[in-house]
């Protein structure tokens, strides 16, 4: 069975982003970029399915400008077999990303599509669910366990009250949560090997989809900064302050 893994190039999660002074967006110039952590977990899961003999091929795909080839190469070094880049300079809404992915799902006919549950830049948490709707497939979001069993896949999901397990008909769409797995590091030989793995480039314009933006980013501002407070010397002082100064306990 084929597994398709869409990945996104985003700011490295250790970097604290800054807002541009003209409030047009955040400043990503010269900022370290990486695979979105949830997408990396998706790649790892797909590679493990292949190592377990469940998956036969792992295809990674990214939609963006040429720079996202860097993340595709990383995913190939982690064990994906081949990569597809859909080239665009536009910053596309999740719905348009899902529409492009739908075309690739139609072409490649994967049994599983594994995506990150959200990207740490836009924090939207939409693409997987939208792709599931457009393809008419079942979805297992926020997965902490994926078990393929014959024609079905069992997904354990992280929900507000704890865990929920659902059974989905294959093909299906899965989105990853943090505890699904711990991604490996790419070894040097695998990084070298990844350079020779196939990476196909397609143009977003060739899919015949109307990619007009549905939202306009009017402005981006820094959050209200909290001022650092005081260091208290003792628990008694803390309790006194909480009672009489902050008035949050009685």
């Amino acid at each position: 069975m084929k597994v398709l893994v869409p990945i996104k190039r985003v700011i490295d999660y250790n970097v604290k982003v800054r807002v541009k002074s003209d409030n047009s967006n955040v400043d990503l110039a010269n900022v370290k970029m990486a695979i979105n952590p949830f997408c990396e977990i998706a790649v790892e899961e797909a590679v493990r399915l292949k190592e377990a003999g469940t998956a036969t091929e792992v295809i990674v795909i990214s939609i963006g400008d040429k720079n996202c080839q860097e993340q595709l190469r990383t995913a190939l070094a982690l064990g994906a077999d081949r990569a597809i880049q859909i080239e665009t300079d536009q910053n596309l809404d999740a719905l348009n990303i899902a529409k492009l992915l739908q075309k690739i799902v139609e072409e490649e006919q994967p049994q599983l599509v594994i995506l990150g549950k959200q990207s740490i830049d836009s924090d939207n948490n939409q693409t997987g669910q939208m792709l599931a709707a457009l393809t008419g497939l079942a979805q297992g979001t926020f997965a902490s366990e994926v078990k393929v069993e014959g024609e079905k896949v069992n997904i354990t999901r992280e929900v507000d009250g704890g865990l929920q397990t659902v059974s989905l008909n294959l093909p299906a769409i899965v989105t990853t949560d943090l505890r699904l797995n711990e991604p490996r590091y790419a070894s040097l030989p695998n990084i070298m090997k990844a350079k020779r793995k196939p990476l196909e480039v397609k143009s977003a314009a060739d899919f015949g989809i109307d990619l007009t933006a549905r939202t306009i980013l009017l402005k981006v501002t820094p959050p209200r900064e909290r001022e650092a407070g005081i260091i208290v010397e003792s628990i008694d002082e803390l309790v006194e302050k909480l009672k009489n100064e902050a008035k949050v306990i009685s």
Partner: protein, 308 residues
Amino acid sequence: MSILVYAEHDNSVLKADTLKTVAAAQKIGGDITILVVGHNCQTVAEKAAKVNGITKVVVADSAAYEHQLAENVSLLVSELAADYSVVMATALTTGKNFMPRVAALLDVAQISDIIAVESADTFVRPIYAGNAIATVQSLDAKKVITVRSTGFNPVACDGSAGITSLDNVINAGISSHVSDELTVSERPDLGVASVVISGGRGMQNGDNFKLFDGIADKLGAAIGASRAAVDAGFVPNDMQVGQTGKIVAPDLYIAVGISGAIQHLAGMKDSKVIVAINKDPEAPIFQVADYGIVADLFEALPELENAL
């Protein structure tokens, strides 16, 4: 304008967060309908009928909706959406799960996690783990929105709207529910508690979370955790506070043995008062804490329990 608000519930209790989503809907303005989708969920519908400022409650009660599977719920909601200009849900697990499906079925973008309403088509939402705040305008005629409840104050519950039942049952037939493993706790929900005490990797193990019990009892607090504490298996996943866990904004948040990574701050930095207990004076948590105490938590916690 007519607005459909999806009720977040577990077939028996209407989540208080829905009252905040209704508040967000009122900011947009228009006739508000609450939709209750579930099975044997009549008590939820009755509770929803009391929510102030709404026109009516619509209930879809069927075995096909018992677990609110996204495949089924999204088909129902996108069909009902024909009569509404805005569809809203709370950005909790159910809403996050099925709403983008509704948006895609309606061929519109979704605006996720709004924390403020600027106008009927312009909304404010955090991006980059809350390190930037975006103002976005939606160009779609029909709007699909999820609401972060910390951004809104709940509406009151002394109204009496009418309840109508729907009998169209939609079952996509491609997914089924297997089991739930829910955490049972006597304590208030993280999302609604006015005091939250959270532990991080510094707690060392799950047993040590018992040090919170006496304090939480005295303060009526909910107990949370950092991702590191959850990953290490100290406590279950539903206790995680942060960018990818629960977003809380209580009156008092006490962070114990938590360093203060940006992903954790994303889930709690809108709390009214933050207290940090950490043995490392350089820990970033102190930069956002109103009151910090540099101490070993194993000494500080028993002292705190006694002092309360």
